[in-house]
Amino acid sequence: MNSSKNIYEKELLVKSTTDNLALIREFTRNSAADCGFSDETIGKIILAVDEACTNIIKHAYKYSPEGNIFLAVKFEERKFFISITDEGKHFDPANVPEPDLVQYYKQKRAGGLGMFLIKKLMDEVNYSTLSGNKNQVVLVKYLS
């Protein structure tokens, strides 16, 4: 942490294409590393952010490359917050069932693992709807 106010801020705006995932991961790595997380925890945060952004590209924007994905990071009271905002299709995370790997196997389904991973990897996951048809998910990790 470089900031004497102990509030850390970084933002990234990219279009909704999968070739931006690598940059999104670098942005996340750099932000989390600055806050003093271990490499193992940084890896978890990176994966959660990748999954959340992949879902936005796939589901909220249905692979249209025109959409915006906006990431903003802050670090406050030893909590790392990363908010991810899109202007795509709304969705209600409560309607998404927990995946059952054995069922998936039987149905040859390949998906449904992303949201499960996000919840497993982070300490808090909060989905919300903002004005202006925006969707936001805030992922939180505690620095122990």
């Binding site: 999968t18 070739d19 995932l21 690598a22 940059l23 991961r25 670098e26 193992e40 890896g43 994966l47 990748d50 999954e51 992949t54 590209i57 796939k58 790997l101 054995v102 998936y104 196997y105 039987k106 040859k108 389904r109 390949a110 998906g111 693992l113 992303g114 499960f116 991973l117 497993k120 990897l121």
Partner: protein, 117 residues
């Protein structure tokens, strides 16, 4: 940036896929292409060697889920080898060890196919 490479080798009757770099939603289609080619060629015995894989997201995991049953229905399988700990932990978190066999070395994975004929 998202460096990913996939290479296909034949070792006896088994197809070995070497994956390298970062396997995410952007690069997973390259791996799918290789599995599609294997199905075209009716090659169902597969070992995926993860030695140089640095990162995997669920988009990569999904590829294995999408093809494994077809391989098994045709007396084949997808087996995993040489996985780094950070990558294995993701498979583990999702319960993959119930459904897949993991081997430390490629050789062991190949032998497992051989011993079944």
């Amino acid at each position: 940036m998202a460096d990913f490479n996939v290479n296909l080798r034949g070792v006896g009757s088994v197809s070995v896929i070497d994956v390298k770099g970062y396997l995410d939603a952007h690069t997973a289609p390259e791996l799918e292409n290789v599995f599609n080619k294997l199905l075209d060629d009716r090659q169902f015995k597969v070992v995926v060697n993860f030695d140089e894989l640095k990162y995997i997201s669920s988009a990569g995991l999904g590829v294995f889920m999408a093809y494994v049953e077809t391989m098994r229905e045709n007396s084949g399988d997808i087996k995993f080898s040489n996985m780094k700990e950070n990558v294995y932990n993701i498979f583990d978190l999702l319960g993959f060890p119930i459904l897949y066999e993991f081997f430390k070395d490629e050789k062991e994975a190949l032998q497992k196919f051989d011993s079944l004929g």
